[in-house]
């Protein structure tokens, strides 16, 4: 049985609400009741809540909505309310807050194109300026480490090194191994047709050590540590921990940023070297199994193919990548405002920006090495 009755009498449409009409009933019968009032041709609508002792604010909202509808159509509406706070709620539900409309639209800023382009340009300039300031501060803080090594937070650096270095080894090893396997496979198919099987070793060694080893390791680290740094600092910003640090007179750069940059500067080159080695082993495995090349032959060819400049050229990149990942991660983390969503946004941005700058720097290195003849 429905918790209400509709009586369509000649003089008026009467809706009698039962003793219990609560949220679930409002949700279930809103449309039905609304339609009956909307469709009526009577001059008068009577809403009788007198029997309704169990109601809640949704009931009141229904009553208010029906009454408003009648008023808009010029039908007279009679409302019989039960005892209790029904009337009080009804007046609260019906009252239109006077300033609602004006406040609903956010400060109407000038949205014409020239203004928007100008705004965007100013914002861009500001962000470039902030990034430059941050870079300068980071460099100064790193120089400070060399001048006063005792003031650096080595304990903190060590803790981060554990997380960014040792803990990253399994995933770096796995991905580099697979990369070596994939490259060797691709090279084996092509070179075998020319009978140049042995050059698989050269190809894998050179492309891994010079280019792909540092790049892949850096991208993995940007996803792991860069995101981690940004989220950590972002959460500290939201919790006002960074503000507390500043008011204590502690230097955020020295306290939070420098240890992270130092840790990654140590971790990433080590990971890169290990990753290179494991990728070469992956290539060796494929050559041995698919091409039947003895491992010793493969190894000798690899050693002969690699020069010092290849090894150190690749290693030099990883230092730059490390500084970029840690710097961008920290910078984005410190950009976080006051809410949790911002942490997510800036963490995403830390990874995206980080990878972008890694690729950009890698392109720069390619040109540089070409000019230098390495």
């Amino acid at each position: 049985m429905k918790p209400f009755q509709i009586q369509d009498d000649a003089d008026a449409l009467r809706i009698l609400f039962g003793p219990r009409f609560v949220r679930t009933d409002t949700a279930a019968f809103w449309d039905e009741i609304d339609d009956s009032v909307r469709g009526t041709s009577r001059e008068r609508v009577e809403l009788d809540f007198t029997a309704c002792t169990r109601y809640d604010s949704s009931t009141v909202v229904l009553a208010a909505a029906l009454r408003t509808q009648c008023e808009q159509r010029g039908i007279s509406c009679e409302l019989h309310t039960p005892s209790g706070n029904f009337d009080e709620l009804l007046s609260a539900a019906s009252a239109q807050p006077p300033d609602l409309r004006t406040r609903t639209t956010a400060p109407a800023s000038d949205r014409r194109y020239p203004t928007r382009i100008g705004d965007a340009a100013v914002r861009l300039a500001e962000s470039v300026y902030r990034a430059l300031v941050f870079t300068g501060e980071s460099a100064a803080a790193l120089a400070e480490v060399l001048r006063h090594p005792g003031r650096t937070r080595w304990g903190e650096t060590w803790r981060i090194l554990q997380g960014a270095g040792a803990d990253a080894l399994p995933i770096v090893a796995l991905i580099c191994f697979l990369m070596g396997v994939i490259m060797a496979f691709q090279a084996a198919v092509q070179l075998h047709t020319f009978g140049a099987d042995i050059y698989v070793a050269d190809l894998v060694a050179l492309s891994i050590v010079r280019e792909l080893g540092p790049l892949m390791t850096a991208i993995i680290c940007a996803g792991r540590s860069g995101a981690g740094f940004a989220a950590e600092l972002g959460a500290m910003k939201v919790g006002e921990e960074v503000d507390a640090m500043v008011t204590m007179g502690l230097d955020v750069q020295r306290f939070l940023v420098t240890p992270k940059i130092l840790a990654l500067l140590a971790a990433l080159p080590c990971l890169t070297v290990l990753g290179n080695l494991i990728a070469i082993l992956g290539g060796m495995l494929i050559s041995a199994t698919v091409l039947g090349l003895p491992c010793a032959v493969y190894w000798n060819e690899t050693v002969a193919a690699l020069g010092y400049s290849d090894f150190f050229g690749g290693l030099a990149k990883s230092f730059v990548f490390a500084a970029l990942i840690a710097g961008i991660g920290c910078y984005r983390g410190l950009e976080v405002g006051t809410d949790a969503q911002d942490v997510g946004r800036k963490t995403t941005s830390a990874v995206v920006t980080g990878i972008f700058f890694i690729i950009l720097a890698d392109a720069g290195f390619s040109v540089l090495y070409h000019v230098m003849g390495i």
Binding site: D31, N85, A93, R103
Partner: protein, 274 residues
Amino acid sequence: MRATSAADIAIEVSGLTASYGHKVVLTNVSFSVKRGEVFAILGGSGSGKTTILRHLIGQARPAAGAVKVLDTDVAAAPEDQLRRLRSRFGVLYQTGALFGGMTVGENVGLPLRELTNLPDAAVDVLVRLKLRLVGLEGAENLYPAELSGGMRKRAGLARAMALDPDLLFFDEPSSGLDPVLAAGLDRLIVKLRDAFGTTMVLVTHDLDSVMAVADRVILLSGQARGVVAEGDPRQIEKSAARAEVRDFFSRCGLRHASAGIDSTVTNRIPENGQ
């Protein structure tokens, strides 16, 4: 089969022992809250106030004893029953706990949209109604970051009340508010109780607010790991026998004189907090 007394008891805690790991915070705590009552859980820092609150709202399970909220045994109830129970009470967290990515209106409307089938038009009006009740009409489209601490609390209260709960929990309602705003919130609590008959449970150590609004209190003690006083706060203040209770209610004699405290006491600054 429901006993007559059960109808007017909102919360019944019997023999509650609470522990974090091996650290026992509360032992053998029993009290009950009547429907429509403004009930305060008092206690010094670290006395287990928040622990009790966590047990009442089902965020922690008792090590021993039973917690019954609105005739549901929180400790033993299966998950779906707990979920139904949760929609019958609201919690106002210390700083409001509004979702930062949503406007005030979306925050208040969230439980209505997610947990009921009310049409959108009804939800909008309900949101406006709730905000009006807490004195925040017109703030629908502001973000929590744009609100002051007091407004954030009131918005949190509007959200806690969205589903017309039978029971409202307040975690430190007056913390971080100036005396005027705190008094405003106190008045709001009493007004809402009178209008809706909602049972209010306050976890606080703000004595002024307790004296103003609470019908009954329990006082927890960290040393005793349990309840050391129970009853009408004004009575306890006058006639407490335990030194610990007297100290709490008189702020070690520093509290501004109200009924029953000799005014000379308040002018004497005690040494070593004695």
